[in-house]
């Protein structure tokens, strides 16, 4: 494996044996980005100089035998809704085009403490609202496997960067599938942790009760390594959980005994692609061959997830995005009549279509006369959805399903049909609504040579189980070793 296609764990071993330096690895990633990102569009900004400086400093420390962090010298890319001091954080929005945060997100502090090399900020759907990065105000990220196809979203840039050889690791955020769906489309591992497992301090808020930061990686081991680096309690996010962070890498190679894998017997998702169905079936066979028991589970309220999600997420978004008023930071319109008009004009000019759509939907759902019918109703159905999982997890250890109904769609294919785009979130939104962890692992290839992911879900705070189950599958297959081109 070359320095741009190897996993972070492989690169760490190579650095420790003196075979390669962090500076060489970082330079190789930057060269690859310079050579090919004009066709992929994974990055919105690069921090090339500071990255090379950090890399050289890590190399010096390594040579001097000084203590090193877990990710010492490994290039990491950040979704551009995660604040890193001194680097623009645009959320792919005209609203924050010139915004430079004066502080680091909690996870950025953790990454710096782990001696990671932050190389750049990746593209996303504006404010993480979307499933294709087509809602970015600046560019659309192409799928490294086929540049006519979408990389997925909203963390499309982070997924594409790992798949394309631009960075061995990256971070994304997942509100309704925004890590798992692009991971599936791009053939990489993407994990959404339990709600509260990772601090959201410094993550630009979209829907606060659903948002969670998580890792992208080229294999399960790397995802475990990155998760154990960023997880844990942080006083500045009161919803972050005060639960021990186990070493997710420690027992990863140890298969789970008497594993019970739940599956949804009647997968009637509209438009479920044959290749996706087949890949899911084959994945279940792999678990069976490993001695796992396959048990059908009922999730009677699964079909209501998308409707529930598209009330709750826009409602929270309409409230969170009220802060963009052209006063403290962000875009201010040039022409306006008065203060209120300044707010409306600034927001009208700087937000894109999807962001406006969601603010409008959320405001509508929360407005007088509609609150009970929409928002309150959705919160009640949310509990029914969570109860389904609680019951299912009494019978099984993990639940396996597709990540998305289809492999990557073509860029432009769904852009004029918001509802069709929303319906593609059918398998992913339930984990956010319930707060449970989920992972997408490479599990197949469509006839058109596009990756297909397998989603595994586990009960709250069972990331260790989730990752070990994912690793059991990965060891038996070589989908994760395939690279585009």
């Amino acid at each position: 494996m070359s320095n741009t296609s190897a996993t972070a764990s492989e690169l760490l071993a190579k650095m420790n044996s003196g075979e390669v330096s962090s500076e060489e690895i970082t330079a190789a990633c930057l060269e690859e980005i310079a050579r090919r990102d004009n066709s992929i569009n994974a990055f919105l900004s690069l921090q090339a100089e500071t990255a090379l400086e950090t890399a050289r400093e890590v190399d010096r420390k390594r040579k001097a035998g000084e203590p090193l962090g877990k990710l010492a010298g490994i290039p990491v890319a950040l979704k551009d809704n995660i604040c890193a001091k001194g680097a623009t954080t645009t959320c792919a929005s005209k609203m924050l085009e010139a915004f430079t945060p004066p502080y680091d997100a909690h996870i950025v502090e953790q990454l710096r403490a782990a001696d990671a090399v932050l190389i750049g900020k990746t593209n996303l759907d504006e404010f993480a609202m979307g499933s294709s990065t087509e809602n970015s105000a600046f560019k659309t990220t192409a799928n490294p496997w086929n540049t006519k196809c979408a990389a997925g979203g909203s963390s499309g840039g982070s997924a594409a960067a790992v798949a394309a050889g631009f960075a061995p690791l990256s971070l994304g955020s997942d509100t309704g599938g925004s890590i798992r769906q692009p991971a599936s489309f791009c053939g990489v591992v993407g994990l959404k942790p339990t709600y509260g497992r990772v601090s959201r301090y410094g993550l630009v808020a979209f829907a606060s009760s659903l948002d969670q930061i998580g890792p992208f990686a080229r294999d399960v081991t790397d995802a475990a390594l990155l998760l154990e680096t960023i997880a844990g309690k942080d006083q500045r996010d009161t919803t972050s959980l005060d639960a021990d962070v186990p070493s997710y890498t420690k027992n990863l190679e140890q298969p789970l005994e008497n594993l019970k894998v739940g599956y949804i017997e009647h997968l009637h998702a509209e438009g479920l692609h044959e290749d996706v169905k087949a890949a899911t079936q084959q994945a279940l066979e792999v678990y069976k061959s490993l001695g796992a028991e396959l048990i059908p589970v009922e999730l009677p309220h699964a079909k209501y997830c998308v409707a529930t999600y598209y009330i709750i997420a826009p409602s929270e978004a309409s409230s969170n995005l009220a802060r963009y008023d052209g006063v403290h930071y962000g875009y201010r319109a040039k022409q306006f009549d008065n203060m209120i008009d300044m707010y409306a004009a600034s927001r009208g000019e700087a937000f894109g279509d999807e962001v406006k759509r969601r603010i409008m939907l959320g405001t509508y759902a929360l407005s007088s006369g509609y609150y009970d019918a929409y928002y309150l109703k959705a919160l009640k159905v949310r509990r029914l959805i969570r109860n389904d999982f609680e019951q299912a997890f009494q019978k099984v250890d993990i639940i396996a399903s597709p990540v998305t109904p289809t492999p990557a769609f073509e860029i432009g294919e769904l852009v004029d049909d918001p509802l069709a785009m929303y319906l593609a979130d059918i398998f992913t939104t339930s984990a956010n609504l319930s707060g449970i962890p989920g992972v997408s692992v490479p599990a197949g290839m469509s006839q058109n040579k596009l990756p297909i992911g397998l989603q595994l879900l586990a009960p709250p705070l069972e990331e260790e189980r989730l990752l070990r189950a994912a690793r059991m599958f990965e060891r038996e297959t070589d989908w994760h070793r395939q690279r585009p081109e």
Partner: protein, 96 residues
């Protein structure tokens, strides 16, 4: 339920949202919001009478911290992203 929001309804929500919209946007949003709301109406099939609403995935309440002085952002940095500032304050158009 009507499948489309009227222009007045859209404009009312836009005003509550502090969003200045073009005429094209108003028309498009009327249709798009209508189709999403029509889809969402499937929740009406469910009887949720005795179900407790669930606002958060992990049900925790009132997280307190000690009330201690902490360092805050220096003024210069707090103002560094302001669209308009005099170096001391955020400037806005006259309100009265």
């Amino acid at each position: 339920m009507s499948t489309q929001l009227t222009q007045d309804e859209v404009l009312k929500v836009a005003s509550l949202s502090r969003l200045k919209l073009s005429e094209t946007e108003v028309t498009a949003l009327g249709e798009q919001m209508g189709s999403v709301l029509k889809y969402i109406a499937m929740l009406d099939e469910l009887d949720t009478t005795d179900i407790e609403p669930m606002a958060h995935a992990i049900e925790i309440s009132n997280v307190f911290r000690d009330d201690q002085l902490q360092e805050s952002l220096p003024r210069e940095q707090a103002l560094s992203n302001a669209p308009q500032t005099d170096g001391k304050y955020f400037l806005v158009p006259a309100i009265l």
